[in-house]
Symmetry: C2
Subunit: 346 residues, 2 copies
């Protein structure tokens, strides 16, 4: 990048003020310390000279980079783009920009990305990759870093968080299957090391217990990742191991899409032979055949809420215990649930 000759000193000289005054006037956070007339004169001088504030130098002076590190599992999961957009839009309104890192659910990559961002003096982190037990987040908490958790929560870090009410959401989805007449309901559960996987499994169990239904052996399987490939593998396993199965509650939409594939390969139709529900209501899931019945929560708003919470923490506008915001889930009934077939499959 070429050097720009115009410095803060030039602006101060033209405006007839001390460089420190010019600095205060040109920094949004300290502008009110300068009288209105002086601030206007300095702004005019800066504009006339084409002065471009050096954010890196300012970051050294103020210890603020106005940059946030965002850690997500994988941008290719359609759940995350709207969440990141919400985050970025809210941050931009306060002059912050976002560094993005994908971790692919790998702890060593998560740590590497985290350290890379930290070396660039980010002012805080928005983390969508939390495991329930996370040495990295425990360390961040011990060091007093600014972190907000998105979508997933972690045990005992004390960080503020924004996530859907996963247990309630799963109860809604499983309750919907039961209300449609299903008794042999399987759960394609997510990884139990993630709060989303654990809470949705608890919701499944609670809904079955509320209805007085037993969970038959072989009817709960645990995915290693929230991926289509895992949904396909475990969907096939459920169909083979659980005869008489008429419905599958998948712990998220990616797993549900994998179930669709497993059903197709087994020559079974959805919802004619087996009903399927998902979780997330991710973009484009309403356009599949059949359109997936799933649990929705506002992804974009999750991002904006997380950003607002992080900005408030960083500016000490949000002191005290960290809030854990739960977004209300909503069942979205589409075309992947029907009454169980009669006679039931052998």
């Amino acid at each position: 990048m070429p050097d720009h000759a115009v410095t803060l000193r030039d602006v101060a000289r033209r405006a007839g003020v001390h460089p420190a005054t010019a600095s205060r006037a040109l920094n949004p956070e300290t502008r009110l310390l300068v009288s209105e007339g002086t601030a206007r004169r300095i702004a005019e001088a800066a504009a006339a000279l084409g002065y471009r504030p050096n954010a890196v130098a300012r970051s050294l002076r103020t210890r603020r980079s106005h940059t946030i590190g965002v850690l997500i599992p994988d941008l290719n999961n359609p759940l995350f783009p709207p969440m990141v957009r919400g985050l970025e839009d809210r941050l931009a309104a306060d002059g912050y920009v976002a560094l993005i890192g994908n971790t692919d659910g790998r702890a060593e990559r998560e740590r590497q990305v985290f350290e890379q961002m930290r070396a660039r003096h980010v002012d805080g982190f928005a983390v969508a990759t939390a495991h329930r037990s996370s040495p990295l987040l425990a360390q961040a908490a011990a060091e007093g870093l600014n972190v907000v958790l998105m979508n997933r929560v972690a045990d005992g870090t004390g960080f503020p968080s924004v996530s859907p009410d996963n247990e309630l959401g799963a109860r809604l989805a499983v309750g919907h299957l039961i209300a449609a007449g299903h008794h042999r309901v399987a759960h394609l559960a997510g990884p139990q090391c993630l709060s989303t996987g654990q809470s949705r499994y608890q919701g499944f169990q609670a809904a079955m217990a509320d209805a007085g239904l037993a969970v038959p052996a072989g009817c709960v399987v645990f995915a290693r990742a929230f991926s289509i490939a895992e949904g396909r593998r475990l969907g096939a396993q459920l169909l083979a191991a659980a005869p008489g199965l008429t419905a599958i509650a998948a712990a998220n939409d990616m797993l549900a899409v994998g179930c669709y594939e497993a059903l197709e390969e087994a020559g079974l139709s959805c919802p004619g032979d087996v009903s399927v529900v998902g979780f997330n209501d991710m973009p484009f899931i309403d356009r599949l055949r059949p359109p997936l019945t799933t649990v929705a929560f506002p992804h974009y708003q999750l991002g904006t809420e997380a950003a607002a919470m992080l900005l408030a923490r960083m500016s000490d506008r949000l002191p005290g215990p960290a809030p854990a915001v739960r977004l209300a889930p909503e069942l979205v009934v589409r075309g992947s649930v029907a009454a169980p077939p009669r006679p039931s499959r052998p």
Copy 2:
């Protein structure tokens, strides 16, 4: 963020060297200037003290932030996440991180995001938002900034670029419709201010001319954006204004999805009544009903190629005229094209 007490000076003192030597040894770009034994001693001292390099301060010294600004139209278009992943993965391999900005196709937002990134001293830009004529890019070119263009190209900037061969891709798609027996083929074109929109329109015209087919009046419409909403609006317009139409070549997959909606609203089936082709082969488009016949190119590779090109330019390993890499497009035949209905629609 808490201060970290350990400085470069502490490391130098422990290793018994001058701070400048410690600095050179700990910077990957200058490490070879220090003898191997000394470099090892300094690295051990840094590890023992828990020294964390201050990337912001280094950025001021070296004028390198190891940060790249990435401008995309909208992360919610499924075309972009894999491209950004490819970019990020390749950049990470060289110790670079990515700042992400969405512009929503708005010039003022593009400039704002660009300036915010520039104020953070990014070393270069990867730009997927280029208009054919772009004052912002012209200015960046005049100032000698490091920029690589992704997916779209701009006239006369001289920046290197990686994009699909759009004209060839459109010829493949339209040729496929003609080979299936369609004569009255409509084009739902993209914005002509974008290279993608323009080149695909040229490909459509060339394919029709090659086959000796006229383009009937009302059979080409121009979208204001590559969006589902525009596809739906203009798809309905085509169906109303072009009787006897049996096929629509949409300039991208988002527009094609909008066509699906327009057909459904008109009570017409795809491909029974009207065939549709898209462009991009974006994620999940193979799971729609019918699965979309479209033009594929490697999105992830486009991102890695762009990153490699930018890294090479920044390190002067790629001098001379800027390369314009064209990725080969490939027709992916799925379920949205059939022979025209007989008798043709009135």
